[in-house]
Symmetry: D2
Subunit: 358 residues, 4 copies
């Protein structure tokens, strides 16, 4: 069958034939891939820049792809033929309590594997076999945007964890919701947009910041979802007030964190999600004193697991009804698998999510 293959640490990607027996499978449910999504991680791997990318043991190549939709080809347990499913992309170590409880996002051994990224063949291939435990059902009616559930799952986990951690204080407002809480999202790429939608769905006030004027599409999106846009090219000082949540959804250098920390409110949370690609940040002794005095929490956030994929499916369904103009804009391009190498090597302007169609 055809598969999209990379050699980790080397530049390049190709669509080539692989034998069912030489690629990894993970269970007994046959899944025919219908779509893959492309994200920044895929492109970093293709550029040979992602140092943590690793082929499965014993060979130097890897099937790419961690965002996928497929159809079940043979009935199995609760799955019927033609059910549309999405695979969970990180698989646990099988040893630590977090992984045993289905929460490989908090694996404690570091021995988890990630489809299409490290130690595990990905989903950019005609079909593969999986364990039902890792397959998430896609509701009819959102199949056009369901590919977004993979990146969204990471954000579901992140926002859930922020809310859970804030149980350390009285954080709900006098109407019992989060309507008085202000969130600042750094970055207006796909991650910035999705996390803004999620925070709005949890009733937060949301301001999205980027170091430029918003595009027309961004303008329309943030208007529909009720978020504000802020051009941070000249810093954040014109943003009035403090923030209860600051979520770094950008790949800006670490200095952005240095710049925004003073804007955290008492008991505020800084979510570290985006990966800075280079550089460093500084914190003075006064700033460290203030972190203590203000009772701030800084959280490292990564990965979503099955419960988060399921929540992502629910939010995408909800958003199709409440924010139809926005959900219509999120898939900016769909290409045939033979064009995949091209879109994997180059990001278009205004791209939000590109998907590959098999």
């Amino acid at each position: 069958m055809k598969a999209i293959v990379v050699k980790p640490s080397s530049k390049g990607v190709e669509v080539r034939d692989v034998n069912e027996k030489e690629v990894q499978n993970f269970g007994r449910v046959k899944v025919r891939i219908i779509e893959n999504g492309i994200c920044g991680t895929d492109r970093e791997i293709v550029q040979g820049k992602m140092t943590s990318a690793r082929a499965p043991q014993g060979r130097d190549w890897l099937v790419l792809g961690h965002e996928a939709l497929g159809v079940v080809e043979e009935p199995f347990g609760e799955f019927k033929v033609n059910d549309v499913v999405m695979p969970v992309n990180r698989r646990g170590c099988g040893k630590c309590n977090n992984c045993l409880m289905g929460r490989a996002d908090h694996c404690e051994t570091g021995e988890f594997v990630e489809a299409g990224i490290s130690d595990m063949d990905g989903f950019m291939r005609e079909y593969y076999y999986d364990d039902p435990k890792y397959l998430v059902k896609v509701p009819k009616g959102i199949e056009d945007i369901a590919i977004l559930a993979q990146p969204l799952s990471d954000l579901e986990k992140s926002v859930n964890e922020i809310i859970k951690v804030q149980e350390r204080v009285y954080w709900t407002c006098n109407d019992g919701t989060f309507s008085c809480r202000r969130a600042l999202v750094i970055g207006s790429g796909p991650i910035g947009i999705l996390v803004s939608m999620l925070l709005r769905s949890h009733s937060f006030q949301v301001i999205v910041a980027n170091r430029r004027e918003p595009t027309e599409i961004e303008d329309q999106i943030f208007q529909e979802i009720g978020a504000e846009y802020f051009n941070s090219a000249k810093g954040y000082t014109e943003l009035k007030g403090r923030f209860d949540v600051i979520f770094n959804a950008s790949t800006a250098p670490p200095t952005v964190i240095e710049d925004i920390i003073p804007f955290l409110n008492y008991n505020g949370v800084l979510g570290l999600f985006g990966f800075p690609p280079s550089g460093e940040m500084k914190l003075s002794f006064q700033e460290i004193q203030r972190l203590s005095l203000k009772g701030v929490a800084i959280l490292g956030l990564a990965n979503g697991q099955k419960p988060h994929f399921e929540e992502a499916m629910r939010h995408l369904s909800q958003w199709k009804i409440t924010w139809p103009k926005t959900t219509n804009k999120l898939i900016t391009r769909t290409v045939h698998v033979d064009e995949a190498p091209k879109v994997l090597s180059f990001k278009e302007e205004n791209e939000i999510k590109v998907k590959i169609r098999w």
Copy 2:
């Protein structure tokens, strides 16, 4: 203006003219009512059977109605003209910590008031004025079914509380979700249907029980949402296995609770939501011993507040996409306000939710 008026403890209901000054208002946002929903509580009041119904101080009549949709008539704060809104129906005592934190569902003084039920004029009138704190925005796209958000809010609170209470044990399954947990819903009326939808949306396995064969509509609904139906006319012994959640969504006599308690699993939760109208139940010493040994929790559940109304709006949006056949069946009849007294006095066969249109 016209209003639907009752005299608590007396039988009867009438549509009559009331003066804006003689009825209660609660704030500065003018809301024109467009729809009211009718539920069992309204009919009990109309029949003069609800002993806890009470008129506002100083008079013997009460504007009925605790389920309502309205449109904002004058801009106010975050509300724009023509925004569709639903009012929160229970208002806090203003004294206890739960009410001060926006959670009058757990009022500790008992001095809360309830629109159209006790000490507070209801929403079955042409217009009224409210405090924005108690108004919930209705997303475009679900206006046809949004009236269900009021009863659903009570269930959102109930299911949230069950899940919160179960943090006392390891209750998520090995995939991190509730997919291995079995819930039994007693009753297949509107409450039974809505709570089944909610439990399915939280990944529970759901069996709905009633003491008769399902109607055709019920059959279609439970099939779409993936719940099982069980005819309990001959008891529950043919139901295999135990239940992690048993939710009483019926108005069956207390003996139903006596009958189902033995079916609770270790660490199981029994949610007491429905109101038995008469009768009593017995528990033997052996059954009480088993409640201890099995670590069971029995929870009294009532009322939802603003966060639960907002979640209800989100679930209704989600369900329109994922279960369109079901959401299409939930409003079984819409009548003009002049017909309200008739529908308030008589429940049709197969009725799920009837609404009054102004």
Copy 3:
């Protein structure tokens, strides 16, 4: 070696020689027993009345004893020779998540075993071998009362669970503690005394009720710990106000529960700990309605595990300092092992805790 042996379901108990090879051991740490405690369960087994008592597979006799202190005889891991230890008495099923996480108190298969009670030889013998995982270190300085840590562990778990479950509401008072919360403890036996001490240590107001005048010892204890005593011979109506916690620490018939339920406050918790030996209770439809409206929680409570044994050791240490008169009164008699059959067959007046000395 000598052991105290029973034949489950038959009346009787004897001190007899058993061979190390014919009794069960559970690990590699050799523990020489120095003391055993006696409780109502032991006496029920000796009377042949406890239907759930069961010998280990393949024989009809069981070594009795679930309350024990021992000394380590050979160094092992963190244990040094002469360390005083107490064994955890319930051991998990090895299958369900709760047991795998060290919380056999919430075992979901029911396949746990209990030392000296069901399927597992107890600790009334000269020595045995155990797994360090189940051994709890006893601090020097409380060895005289440490035998109480076993019954206290069950109550540590119970009170922790009550507090955890109440996270469903705003339950702490305006000073951040539980000082405004009122607890009613039914029963003034050893369990009633220990749970009262525990609730006082969590800052609750405590009233202990029994159907008679307090003994002189009880008077002194409740005065020192700051609890009130109430003679409930004529019912509870003279107790003013409602209770946020009602804890059944008695073996009174189920009607006591019927009688006290109306005294639960809004959001109150009823803890079912004590085992009624016979009889039944009734609940009317009105009372069931009130449970819902008042948001009450009823919790079945049993068993403590290692974290609770450790907390019990900490509380006993604390209490020796803060309530020395009370801790001095809790061990009412110490007998030699040869007298064990006698004290196992008969409970003295004013007994709180009797222990057997090897």
Copy 4:
């Protein structure tokens, strides 16, 4: 009456007469001070170095002292004459939800006041009047060391918050306790010692690090409480393994944080408690990436409130029994009030806690 008085921002301290009417009082319970504790904050104020120190409005001098024991002089509510009490030193803003719920440690307005530090007269005076809400009862039997409850209260809050935040993951070990979790405490001063005792009491493994060999007293203390000591003069690389908790209990420069962050385990928590007095730290992009990937939490920690003072009293009672050699060593000197200016100006070698006796 006599009082110990400072002029914030100026160097110096004096014992002088003040009039009852010119100093602040806070309620109706008359408290005669018997002891004050001295800590680094007091000395910083005396040196004129603490920029956040502020006199009450309208004057330039402040009564010093936030650690105090007193006796009640007139009966009031639950307080009897001669009850020994300790005042809570931070008082809330009266506006935000956290303060209204008795948790001024998480005040959101920043308008709280602190006795003897900012905007509120302290407790180094012969007597004052307070609100019972802010008075904590001191158990007989720990009066000699109870002054430690004030600094300990800050640590009770800190450790509670760390444990609460970690509910985001499966963090208890397979025996249900924290026995498998490793904590690194930076600093072996009074704060380092107290937090190590606290972490040991929660069953953590504890290593205390300082950049020198331990003193003889430290050696004895860490041996009794079962903590390890590590000389970090040459860095932390010889410490094997990673840490689940790293608690900064030192006033080392920020580079210490830079150095220890790589030693955080997956899901680890870094508690920022100590105040670095100068300098800055750097974090590289790789380290920030690792914080995300490892799911780390960094918490700013400060201040304890009434529930934490009460827990501190309980732990001090427990520790007197379990670690008597250690509790005997913690008060290193007691001086008469007239000598206070001298001890406030100079810290002796080997000092742990100095107290002033009235």
